[in-house]
Point group: C2
Chain length 120, copies 2
DNA sequence: TTGACAATTGAATACATATTCATATATAAT
DNA sequence: ATTATATATGAATATGTATTCAATTGTCAA
């Protein structure tokens, strides 16, 4: 069903709540970017990489060692993180050092950890 | 390759960086839960639902109207959110009202929005 | 008790994506 | 130049998941 043809299949709705909430919703693009941001954080390998990079800048091989995973897999994930603007890198000879490029990562991790703690 | 059989295929690694970072890494369970938390937030439908519920508690039908999506789809997502402890609900007759059950959602959204703003 | 309806749930489908494998690129050393 | 190596990348596979559709549950009203 196309979005703009949507007709509610309920008889009882709280129209004023629906209207007020609808007005305060953000635009589709913002919701998309928000979901994309969290989707990037929603993978255990990327979470580990970001947590590690929060400690030190590291080359691909270092990260592969810390995570005990293949360099190829790490490199793919670093590409994803780089394209989404969460990490950046600098080259030094054959090595490429990665580091965080977003100062919100630490904060967002802390809140995530609070959530986990709270749910225990 | 099993994790505990992992042998690095690099010649040059920064052993002390790897060692120090490895020591400061969290346990696997915590990383898993952290990734799970963000994974839940990493879907545009769930982001919209949570943003809406941050304004008002709402029944399934209300949410379906605000998002212009089917009740079934919304109900499935609410189930996911409920099972992960992010929303809770109360029944009132035939209706079920959902509300946030995690006071970190608002904070984490704000940081996400800052990230988006910063990357423009 | 029967009908209507809000919500849930299971199965199926369609789509996204993480890792692996093979290969390519770039840089340093010989 | 040639070799070794750190990283990147494309394709394939396997796995996960969002939505739809159909059916079911639970509650209210007649």
């Amino acid at each position: 069903m196309a979005k703009n043809e949507f007709v509610c299949d309920c008889n009882v709705i709280h129209q004023n709540v629906v209207d007020n909430t609808s007005k305060s919703m953000l635009d589709a693009d913002t919701f998309n970017k928000l979901a994309e941001f969290f989707k990037i954080l929603g993978d255990i390998t990327r979470v580990k990489i970001l947590f590690a990079l929060d400690q030190n800048e590291m080359c691909v091989c270092d990260i592969a060692n810390v995570l005990k995973m293949s360099k190829s897999s790490i490199s793919h994930q670093l590409g994803t993180l780089r394209r989404s603007g969460i990490v950046k890198c600098r080259k030094s000879g054959k090595e490429v050092f990665y580091m965080l490029d977003d100062n919100h990562i630490k904060e967002v991790f802390e809140i995530g950890l609070e959530h986990i703690e709270h749910k225990k």
